[in-house]
Symmetry: C3
Subunit: 254 residues, 3 copies
């Protein structure tokens, strides 16, 4: 499944409209290109819906919000729903401030995501559960399965909780991905990039939970392969090898 998904993405080169935070834009674009997608980024409300209309997937990531972008995200999200392309919502730091929390609600009132992905604290927050968080990073443990089940049910969407293990749920079915590497947690935007790859993975034909799981699996495997390289000695040297791993011929993906 992993190999066939990545091959299909590379065949179709889906254009993904990344409405994402300014910290991770470059890394997201390079990572998505490596995976096989084609990135486009546009945040102005004057053009966001038009860009979505050209695209095969939409990512809404609220990591560095500003007022205009919120309006543009809602317009783009509605357009994506209209034309039937997948929408991934990443509620970065939703529990951190009232503003982020309210923006999430507003987006969720107007836009139907295909998948909501976040860490435990972010997802728990969306369903009124509490886990210990620190800034945009979740440090709590909580019951991950119950969190993703609740999110999935309340919002009628797929839910993916990333962490040491990734736990997902869609229509009551729970799935778990165990690939990955601790170095992913030491580079900024590894979760944000995954959101973009999920949008790309979801854009091709196939069963939704299969596509999510294959994308998670490939992503974690790429990290494992990169981390195993002898010249990788920390997060700095991990990053270029990780991009290479994402871009590798899929036969090597194991």
């Amino acid at each position: 499944m992993v190999i066939s998904l990545v091959k299909q993405v590379r065949k179709e080169r889906p254009l993904i409209h990344n409405m994402t935070n300014t910290v991770v834009m470059n890394f997201t674009a390079n990572g998505l290109l490596a995976f096989g997608g084609s990135p486009i980024m546009a945040n102005a409300k004057q053009e966001a819906p038009d860009v979505t209309r050209l695209s095969q997937g939409l990512l809404l990531n609220i990591g560095t919000l500003h007022e205009d972008q919120v309006q543009a995200m809602i317009l783009a999200g509605k357009t994506a729903n209209e034309i039937g392309i997948p929408v991934v919502l990443d509620p970065v730091g939703a529990p951190a401030t009232t503003y982020r929390s309210e923006v999430c609600r507003k987006i969720l009132d107007e836009v139907q995501p295909t998948v909501i992905k976040g860490n435990a604290g972010e997802l728990a927050h969306l369903v009124g559960m509490e886990v210990e968080t620190k800034g945009v990073d979740s440090t709590g443990k909580g019951d991950l399965i119950s969190i993703v089940k609740e999110v999935s049910e309340e919002y009628g969407t797929g839910a993916v909780c990333t962490g040491e293990k990734d736990v997902g749920c869609i229509e009551g079915d729970v799935f778990i991905n165990e690939t990955g590497h601790p170095l992913l947690g030491q580079i900024t935007g590894s979760g944000c990039l995954l959101g973009s790859l999920l949008a790309a993975g979801l854009s091709v034909a196939g069963d939704t939970s299969d596509k999510i799981l294959a994308t998670l699996n490939y992503y974690g495997q790429a990290a494992e392969r990169a981390a195993s390289r002898p010249d990788v000695e920390g997060p700095g040297t991990f990053l270029p090898r990780f991009i290479d791993s994402l871009a590798a011929e899929v036969e090597h993906a194991g």
Copy 2:
């Protein structure tokens, strides 16, 4: 010519005002530093013209537009025209949305660029020709020479169409650059960075087409040298070696 241009840039260290998209800012700044220029970035209309006034070249790249930036770009572009420094316009994704298309026209109504650079789809769009495009990436073939001739004539400017081969035109003379490497197409912002380097290359004394061609040639050669390194196995490991190549002692540039 290539060596003398790069030496001159490194002697003068031209300050280049990069009004560019948020995806590529960091890569552009590092690449321009490596080439020998000095980057400055300012997008607020309150200071953009003042920053241009300090600079030896201006880049206008519309990759992630927002309303305030458009006004600031026009003010900066007019200032650049007034003080007689080169202006490079990169109409990123111009065919993708009505908004981008209109912004391009508005800039071109008010600002005289020294060079317009883009891919085939972007340049063709500016002269009402059609080539197949996908998001911000051009996939069409079209007649590149006729595209750059038309753009150059219609806007009274140099025109550079980047791609497998780079094709340029200024005052009726056509020139072609054949250096480069496919890995450039796998990292985001390689075209955007080139725009900044063109502004730096154009800022020193000399014939315009010579300076453009030398910059294109050096850029492609740097990519070739980087790609040939044994530790480069994909776009991730290519990127740091490419920056090193751009920064290399120019005697090694061949």
Copy 3:
């Protein structure tokens, strides 16, 4: 002192609110993570004070100003003063434009920084002294000690002037750091990242000048170690090794 400071930062993992320029956000986040801090970035006035309230340190860097961000910076800075967390102000390019200069004054009228850090030209400008500058980079020599003394006295703050040697002053005491490497000057944002690390270093218990000096020392040492690696041949390959060095086990810090 260096080792104990870095160990303490890694134990506490201070959340640092980075209100910084769009050029260096990704590099700042990765560098701060490597040092041992936890980055958060939020520039909207709707949430900036709330994010500051969660944080253990605040960085105000004016490298790519826009109007909304100025208001948000002042709100965040006042909040930081209220709750007693360290504030680092980096007046990037203050002498370059009237707007930047005025924004600096406005921030300094309303916010009490713990440390102002900049290059010679930026600091000199804040106290009405003149040194030769080029864009955001200082090229002048001036009397660094008198500059930091003046800044420290006029604003009742620590002052750090970065350059070949870093010269600092707090409450009349002058200190000098001699670690560092010329490659730091060839990558964009090395000064900006240092501002974020200073906020993290200042957030733990201890004497202010000790903490500043230890942070400067560690930063420069990390650059020296990275530059000495055999595979580092320029600014491109230096960058990943530098992040690794910042992240290294502190026993190796020497």
